[in-house]
């Protein structure tokens, strides 16, 4: 079985089977119960959240977990709240909840931009942010978003609780810092004053995985220059991060169109896309630049608007 591009759909199906292999199934009743089940079943156990990535992989027999630990009853992991200057997002928060949250939209419009173009309503009704980040598909939108806003993942396991910044959380395609027996429980996003963020994606049709996508977040200093910037791109590299050069080029500069063009140029240089049915390497590189430019332009507009409407005290 060869993986030809990201977004698990783009796989050459060497055998057309769409029925999963046999597995056992347990429904966890609490976070502790989930951890205990994971520990008991060991390496062969997998958490199932919304199931919108895991079940298709199981049906194609790309994944064959022997045990499924269902965490959908863990309502204690389904929350959104502002606390200590951070937006806290429970790992079981559904795409739909993020999209409908006024709080999220006001503080981080980048989440709403992305959620509007992730899959379709039935998938968004079930799919979770935790599942999205843990799936770690290089074309995954929320990972790029979380990278841009410098989110931190909170992981719970037999060894206790630890916090991992997005850049370290994501270890490569389909690999994360979450180890066997561990659970991602929370995503924390620092709220910055005078900040704006935006996400831009090109897809072949609604609900398709990204051909390329770019997220940009920035905050403006009192002198109107860029005080801080974060960038995350999806589907153009095996890594979501790696745009430090872009971020460095932005900080301390006036948010002008030329600057964002320059930022786009660097992003296009630093990404590493593959040619596939979604587009050639050349096109995707172009998109990395174009979409970075567009996302930053919109992020800066929003930052200016936030500056004028009380975004400072958020």
């Amino acid at each position: 079985m060869t993986v030809r591009s990201y977004g698990f759909g783009a796989i050459a199906l060497e055998a057309a089977v769409q029925v999963p292999a046999t597995f056992e199934y347990r429904r966890a009743s609490s976070v502790e119960d989930a951890l205990a089940l994971l520990e008991r079943f060991g390496e062969e156990a997998r958490v199932i959240a919304g199931g919108h990535s895991l079940l298709p992989m199981m049906k194609l027999r790309l994944a064959r977990p022997e045990f499924l630990v269902d965490i959908n009853d863990l309502h204690e992991l389904d929350y959104l709240r502002l606390e200590g200057g951070e937006l806290l997002i429970g790992a079981l928060t559904r795409h739909r909840t993020l999209l409908e949250s006024e709080l999220v939209g006001r503080l981080f419009p980048i989440f709403h931009d992305a959620e509007r173009v992730i899959a379709d309503p039935p998938v968004r009704n079930r799919g979770t942010i935790g599942g999205s980040l843990c799936q770690a598909d290089p074309a995954e939108d929320l990972s790029a978003v979380c990278t841009a806003v410098r989110a931190v993942a909170v992981i719970l396991g037999p060894g206790g609780r630890r916090s991992v910044p997005m850049q370290e959380f994501y270890r490569g395609p389909y690999e994360t810092a979450v180890g066997a027996g561990e659970l991602l429980v929370e995503i924390r996003v620092p709220v910055r004053p005078n900040a704006g963020s935006a996400y831009r994606k090109v897809e072949r049709k609604t609900g398709d995985w990204a051909v390329a996508a770019a997220g940009g977040a920035l905050s403006l200093a009192d002198d109107g220059r860029i005080g801080w910037a974060g960038i995350g791109l999806a589907a153009v590299s095996t890594s979501l991060a790696g745009y430090r050069r872009v971020e460095e080029a932005l900080v301390g500069r006036e948010p002008t169109d030329e600057l964002f063009t320059e930022a786009g140029r660097i992003a296009a240089e630093d990404c590493d896309p593959l040619s596939d049915l979604r587009g050639t390497e050349e096109y995707k590189r172009h998109l990395a630049g174009e979409l970075t430019h567009r996302a930053l332009t919109l992020a800066a507009e929003r930052a200016r608007a936030a500056g004028g409407t009380g975004g400072k005290d958020a």
Binding site: A12, A15, A16, V202, L287
Partner: protein, 794 residues
């Protein structure tokens, strides 16, 4: 926007407002569909039913060294494992295709495409059957595959069909139409000749319901009942009788509700044959239903036409001739569904809607290591390819001459007085007023305003495009003397019986896959007899209950069976006249018909309704000498010619210059399908076809890598459009009845699929100022076309 008569819109409107005959009427079948009460093949549950699954080849081309089924056979829930070798013993390892080729049911010698059927497992449940597939051990010796049709005829190309006696290459057929010498002469004296290579990529019908069946061979009376996803139940029954040697009266094919066909469900698939064999072996009913990937990878695809088109014209823009060479990729077995005489289907209607002097086409069919089938997907036997070719060529010519594409079309369209029109490749177009239809589309769209807007946007660096297409369809196959499939003539039967209480049942040979036959055919009979449509039961899809006929595809239901329904109703009406005469004690000639009743000429008050006549026909009334009782009739309709629906389409797109994304902003479709039986159903057919067209133009393709791996085996990769990719359709119509058809109806099932792709592509080319780029126009391909050109897709 189409004018909608609100009052007659709903089936639940008061009976007095519902049409007794033609008109807008909600579909009779929809209550069961919207309530989830449809009954599809996969809903069939029989006592003791077993489940089948197909093991498929992972390789595109390989010799089978060995197959070990022992582990699968010892699976506790497995009842049978069938291989090609086992079928060979029964004489069933190979079956004929619809193009008189042979196709492996289960591979014996080689596998010839990825996804080809290799073994069949019958087990107690769906899951066990699939688990057991993994226990079958097949050893393959890989062979180099032929994937690109352009290399299929290379001297060193591996021979795919070495099973065929004496085969030394991958050539299937050469076929031509038109007058080569006359065409060459026209091209030699033309001021302008434009040549364009274009590929109509491989696409897939992708019906939401995949293919499947339940085979139930009664071990006692030897009767086979086969529930199948088929568009042609009668043709299937006859083929099973011929191939498997089962007596035809002992085969009953039932095609229940079908979740979309689009041509995908015309042919016989190996899975059906295996399920039948499975039922014979296990003496139990066997269900087999494909997965989505199996459907996309192994069942009938469409198109895959590599075309080199040339158009010749005067400098003023008078088109003189069209010339085309086609390389047709038919996959590993030539399984194309089409009338026997026409290996390229009706592609030779590529002269389109224009008054030209000469035309010639030459088509070469080749084998490749890809799934077989072809023609499928709402194309009216390759009219889609033909329309795409000529409508793209006309735009290329407009570009070359610097002329407006609407004006260029208007100048060259056939004129009303030229009908019936003999085109240059052997068709006789029945009727039409093409300029009026084009004018209507341009007016509906506001063409001049759109062109002005386009100029303003261009000045601002925005990319807006306007694309036109004018198509002539050729449907309703067909006259028996010219058209058959595997020797079966393309005529269709119809039976009508009026019950004593004046209600009726009409039995059709064609089968609906969503076209609304239960409504349309009731309306046809209603129009002729004056019995309300809700009093007419339409029976179809069961060979034990319906007369013989070739089924639904190529937009043939209304042109062929619709005619049969009208003819049979007229027979009943004639008989009713005799009976009414006896009732009123006048001679039949003294009676005059008004919808629903026969009345005495000059005395409209003295009459008998069709319901009164029906009761009398079954009662004690003394009937005239030689007249049998009851009120029923049968007929077989042999069409004298095909019908030629046509239309003018206009598409407006916006292209994002930075990303190449195409947004279809507007789509205006003016269709002429002759007499309009149920305008609401027609609009539904057009809406669906337009969505298909946008899909093909912008996103659909079955792709392969160089090893022959199919890269489009799921809906994540085979993209079909949704409401979000399609605009609010703007429809209009003109009505030019077909003069040779009993009710003047021409058929409309495929018009929009046939006509729309060219309009979308023309619009995108207009927006980006590029002469040609092949479909699908995904953002990446559009952007490449804008920056130095894009290769044909693989």
């Amino acid at each position: 926007m189409t004018a909608v008569t609100e009052s007659a819109e709903t089936g639940s409107a008061p009976a007095s407002e519902r049409p007794v005959g033609y008109g807008r009427l909600k579909r009779k079948e929809d209550p069961r569909f919207v309530r989830g009460k449809g009954h599809y093949v996969d809903d069939v549950q029989l006592p003791g039913m077993l489940h089948g699954a197909v093991l498929r080849s992972p390789l595109a081309h390989a010799r089978i060294v060995s197959i070990d089924t022992s582990a699968a056979e010892s699976h506790p829930k497995v009842r049978a494992v069938i291989t090609g070798a086992a079928l060979e013993g029964l004489g069933l390892a190979w079956m004929p295709t619809l193009s008189m080729d042979t196709q492996a049911v289960l591979a014996t010698d080689k596998v010839r495409f990825q996804g080809q059927e290799v073994a069949f497992v019958v087990a107690e449940d769906h899951y066990a059957a699939r688990d057991a597939l993994e226990l079958i051990d097949v050893e393959y010796e890989p062979l180099p595959p032929v994937i690109n049709a352009r290399h299929a005829l290379d001297a060193d190309a591996p021979v795919i069909r070495d099973d065929l006696e004496g085969r030394t290459d991958n050539h299937i057929f050469d076929w031509e139409a038109g007058d080569k010498a006359a065409t060459d002469e026209v091209f030699a004296r033309a001021d302008v000749v434009v040549t364009q290579e274009m590929l109509y990529p491989r696409v897939h019908p992708a019906p939401l319901e995949t293919c499947g069946c339940v085979a139930d061979m009664d071990p006692v009376d030897g009767k086979l009942t086969l529930w199948e996803t088929t568009q042609a139940p009668h043709a299937h029954r006859t083929l099973y009788a011929m191939v498997a040697g089962l007596p035809e009266q002992k085969i009953r094919v039932i095609s229940p509700d079908i979740g979309g066909g689009f041509g995908n469900k015309v042919g016989i698939y190996p899975g059906y044959v295996c399920a039948v064999v499975g039922s014979i072996l296990t003496k139990k009913p066997v269900k087999w239903v494909e997965d989505r990937s199996e459907n996309l990878m192994s069942t009938s695809f469409a198109r895959d036409y590599h075309m080199r088109g040339e158009i010749a014209a005067t400098r003023e823009g008078k088109i003189l001739g069209v010339r085309v060479k086609v390389l047709a990729d038919h996959g590993a077995f030539n399984g194309t569904a089409q009338p026997t005489k026409y290996p390229a289907g009706f592609f030779h209607i590529f002269t389109g809607s224009y008054d030209i002097e000469a035309a010639h086409c030459q088509v070469t069919g080749v084998y490749t290591n890809k799934a077989p089938g072809g023609v499928a997907y709402a194309c009216s036997f390759r009219v889609t390819e033909a329309v795409y070719l000529v409508e793209r060529l006309v735009d290329c010519l407009a570009d070359e001459l610097g002329q407006d594409p609407a004006e260029l079309r208007m100048r060259n369209l056939l004129r009303p007085e030229q009908f019936p029109y003999e085109n240059k490749t052997g068709w006789e177009y029945d009727s039409g007023d093409y300029p009026a239809t084009l004018r209507k589309a341009l007016d509906l769209a506001g063409y001049d305003t759109l062109r002005r807007e386009q100029a303003e946007r261009r000045a601002r660096g925005e990319l807006m495009g306007i694309g036109l297409s004018f198509f002539t369809e050729t449907v309703g196959a067909g006259p028996r003397k010219h058209m058959d499939i595997l020797g079966l003539g393309m005529a269709d039967g119809c039976e009508l019986r009026v019950h004593p209480t004046g209600k009726a049942v009409v039995r059709l040979s064609v089968q609906s896959q969503g076209q609304g036959h239960e409504t349309t055919f009731a309306q046809i009979v209603a129009e002729e007899l004056g019995i309300p449509p809700e009093d007419i039961e339409v029976v179809h899809g069961d060979t034990d209950q319906t007369p013989f006929g070739l089924g639904t595809y190529g937009s043939r239901s209304t042109p062929v069976s619709g005619a049969a329904a009208a003819v049979v109703a007229r027979k009943v009406r004639d008989k009713a006249r005799i009976i009414a005469g006896a009732m009123l004690e006048v001679t039949p000639e003294d009676l005059e018909w008004e919808k629903g009743r026969w009345f005495v000429k000059g005395d409209p008050g003295t009459a008998r309704t069709i319901q009164e006549i029906a009761l009398a026909a079954h009662g004690a009334l003394e009937l005239p000498e030689g007249v049998e009782g009851h009120l029923e009739a049968t007929t077989v309709y042999n069409p004298p010619n095909l019908t030629f629906p046509y239309g003018a389409y206009l598409c407006v797109v916006d292209v994002d210059p930075g990303t190449g994304e195409v947004k279809v902003r507007r789509f205006v479709a003016v269709d002429d399908c002759g007499t309009r039986i149920n305008p609401m159903i027609i609009e539904g057919q057009v809406h669906g076809g337009l969505a298909d067209g946008v899909g093909m133009a912008l996103m659909e393709i079955i792709s392969f890598d160089e090893d022959g791996n199919c890269l489009s085996g799921s809906f994540m990769d085979y993209l079909v459009p949704t409401a979000l990719e399609t605009p609010a359709w703007e429809l209009g119509n003109t009505v030019t009845p077909s003069p040779h058809h009993p009710i003047g109806a021409k058929g409309v099932g495929e018009s929009a699929t046939v006509g729309s792709p060219a309009a979308v592509v023309n619009a995108v080319m207009d927006a980006i100022g590029v002469r040609h780029a092949d479909m699908p126009l995904t953002p990446g391909r559009v952007w490449q076309a804008m920056h130095g050109g894009v290769e044909p897709p693989q």
